[in-house]
């Protein structure tokens, strides 16, 4: 892969190699695994959007077209690393073991969705843009103090790079040489604000310069390149080389969220132009070309994913809401007296007998 320029790509949009595959991604199993994970992410997004459109899920942020970033990043991480996602990283959460049911619960307005059985140390979805970047520095400092060879990986968008929290976190991770990786998913839009109106920085990778850490760009629609760039950054961090930043260039093919109507601020023509570059297309092309993937594989995967997501959806819809006391019982480890009074009153009011 030609990454010297600070921009790396392995697979062109047409599915042709633009350079040798990294060792980490030569075998059919790895490659098809990445493809399956991206398809699964897209399947989840589709199901979530469908549920929202039919009034059975809350506002949802689809990752359509960006699947290579969360999947590429997560596939390079170890289980003991910690992921700090924004709200568009289902692909990474799914890879790391968060279940579709748990994700649906969260997006459906049930806190239990963030109490996932999978990666217990991973942070929940972060909605206040960029505010989780300092948490990643803290988690990384914890790893460093315990001399664990783990890395904290925060993922956020192009818009987030304008937030002071992110600048402060990058700076501290840099000066303390923390085992942290900051991944900027540059999907070209922050709701209605295009990348060029977000910052005059030549690249968002250059946000790293202000923090004195390495920053590189990668084709965010090339899951192999994303994975490889992440592997290198994680290895550097594990071996004491400190923090770094990756700008993954991709495109938000969907509306910002189900509450958004992107046609108000961007041309459908622009969106159409980006469809040919989307990440599944090119990997599928490469896999078929290489003989790793057949029409039958594709059909089976589509069926599997559909079945998994249908099952998750019905499990979600069958999940009874939490009991009223759950509103109170996680505020503090021990319930203070005055809160106990409020709890009692609330339970009385909520109980069927109450008027």
């Amino acid at each position: 892969m030609h990454g010297d320029s600070g921009y790396s790509r392995c697979l062109g949009p047409d599915g042709r190699l633009v350079g040798p595959l990294p060792e980490s991604a030569r075998d059919a199993e790895t490659l098809t695994g990445l493809y399956r994970a991206m398809m699964r992410t897209r399947g989840f997004d589709a199901k979530a959007v469908a549920l929202q459109r039919t009034g059975r899920l809350g506002t949802f942020a689809s990752s359509l077209g960006q699947e290579a970033v969360p999947v590429g990043v997560a596939s390079a991480m170890r289980a003991e690393d910690v992921l700090l996602p924004s709200f568009r990283e289902h692909g990474a959460q799914l890879w790391r073991g968060v279940t579709p049911l748990e994700l649906l619960l969260y997006w459906g307005g049930d806190e239990r969705g963030s109490n996932f059985a999978g990666p217990r140390q991973d942070f929940p979805v972060c909605v206040p843009v960029g505010s989780h970047a300092p948490h990643a520095a803290g988690v990384a400092l914890a790893f460093k103090l315990r001399r664990e060879r783990c890395v904290a990986v925060a993922v956020f968008g192009d818009g987030a790079t304008s937030k002071g929290d992110v600048a402060e976190a990058l700076n501290i991770a840099g000066v303390w040489q923390l085992p942290a990786l900051f991944v900027v998913t540059n999907n070209q839009w922050a709701i209605s604000v295009p990348r060029r109106r977000q910052s005059a920085a030549e690249t968002l990778a250059q946000k790293a310069v202000a923090a004195g850490i390495p920053g590189d760009q990668v084709d965010g629609n090339d899951v192999i390149a994303v994975r490889q760039a992440t592997l290198l950054a994680l290895e550097r961090a594990r071996s004491g080389g400190g923090a770094s930043l990756i700008e993954a260039l991709t495109y938000r093919l969907a509306d910002h969220t189900t509450a958004d109507d992107a046609s108000r601020y961007r041309d459908d023509a622009e969106v159409s132009r980006h469809w040919p570059e989307e990440p599944l297309l090119r990997l599928r092309a490469y896999l078929s070309e290489a003989g790793y993937w057949t029409k039958r594989d594709e059909d089976r995967l589509l069926a599997e994913t559909a079945a998994e997501m249908d099952a998750a959806a019905s499990a979600y819809l069958d999940t009874k809401p939490q009991p009223p006391e759950s509103i109170f019982d996680y505020t503090f480890a021990r319930l203070p007296t005055d809160l106990a009074e409020q709890r009692a009153a609330a339970l009385a009011a909520a109980s069927p007998t109450a008027g």
Binding site: G58, T59, F87, Y106, W107, G108, G109, D110, E111, V125, V127, P128, V129, G130, G159, A160, S162, K163, G164, D165, A190, I191, S192, V193, R197, Q198, S199, A259, D260, R264, Y265, P321, Q322, P324, S326, I327, F328, T331, D338, L339, Q342, R343, A346, A349, A350, G355
Partner: protein, 326 residues
């Protein structure tokens, strides 16, 4: 004269203010082409152009700070924070600068800015999109804090806020944005920023509320009317400076005071109102003051939100307790 929603009244007031005063600017995230995520600034970019309406980068502290610099230079910026859950990074600029520029410089520099933000719950919004932090701002000297509860009051109060020579935090309850319509004439008439509004006269109890709780208070008053209890309903509207006189006069008359707030109980603004009443109306009180508020817990996600938010049933129950007291 047209029947419009509260959010349309906000847009109408913004347009009126921008038309009457070229120094009025609108800035914030997605307030331009998108017209704001709630469409509160819909059409302003097209009508007033990109020298009056600015889509900012994603940076709340800077949105407040930019506004302070503009205001010190004589502009009247009206900045939007997309949701109050994201207003916290702007607090430093509001507390340490916007609210004190006049005092610090003995009037040499001033800060005529408005910070608008949708607030409150009840719309099954995502995490961090349903907060009610008005009390934090009402405790800051030098700030005005306004929470409208009807299209007409939103129009008049926002116009007054924009014309005010000092900084105003203007919190718009999302649940009311499209909840009802009202005839609002675009006559440019502002409403006073230091008055409570008595929405309904009553004899037996005074219901004090603001923002999203006003509708619940009125609904409670309706229920109670059928029980023969006559409740006066007051919309505080401007929390700071507080028009205590109107509230005290009412409680002096009814002898019972029930205050409803959506925010968590402890340290909420209902406490300030209760304190004023306790200080000044003690002897006219026929029953203990009642506060009906959110719990001292984090706002639950949508599935349990309805259990958290005070409603007219809880307000009516509090009034009944007060009536039964002896």
């Amino acid at each position: 004269m047209a029947e419009i929603t509260l959010v349309q009244a906000v847009t109408l007031a913004l347009a009126h203010a921008m038309a009457e005063d070229p120094s009025v600017l609108v800035l914030g995230e997605d307030v331009g082409a998108d017209g704001g995520v709630f469409r509160a600034t819909d059409g302003l970019l097209a009508r007033f152009g990109c020298d009056r309406v600015f889509d900012t980068p994603l940076a709340e502290a800077a949105i407040a700070g930019l506004s302070i610099g503009l205001a010190a230079q004589g502009f009247h910026p009206v900045a939007e924070i997309q949701f109050t859950g994201f207003i916290y990074p702007a607090i430093d600029q509001l507390v340490n600068h916007a609210s004190r520029l006049r005092t610090r410089t003995r009037g040499r520099l001033t800060c005529p800015m408005v910070l608008r933000s949708p607030c409150g719950g009840g719309v099954r919004a995502p995490e961090h999109h349903s907060e009610s932090p008005e009390a934090m701002f009402a405790h800051v000297p030098g700030l005005r804090v306004v929470v409208p509860s009807s299209p007409r009051r939103a129009y008049g109060l926002l116009l007054a806020a924009i014309r005010d020579p000092d900084p105003v935090v203007f919190l718009e309850p999302t649940r009311l944005y499209r909840a009802s319509r009202e005839d609002v004439s675009d006559d440019g008439a502002g409403l006073p920023l230091d008055r409570c509004f008595v929405l309904r006269e009553g004899r037996d109890a005074t219901l004090v509320a603001w923002g999203g709780m006003v509708r619940e208070a009125i609904a409670a008053a309706d229920r109670l009317a059928q029980e023969g209890v006559s409740a006066e309903v007051i919309d505080v509207a401007t929390l700071k400076p507080l028009d205590a006189e109107t509230i005290l006069a009412s409680v002096g008359k009814t002898g019972r005071c029930i205050i409803a707030q959506e925010a968590p109980l402890a340290g909420g603004f209902a406490a300030e109102i209760a304190a004023r009443v306790a200080e000044r109306c003690l002897m006219s009180l026929l029953a203990p003051i009642e506060r009906v508020a959110g719990f001292d817990t984090v706002m639950p996600l949508p599935r349990l939100e309805h259990l958290y938010l005070p409603d007219n049933a809880r307000i009516a129950a509090a009034v009944r307790r007060a009536m039964a007291y002896a």
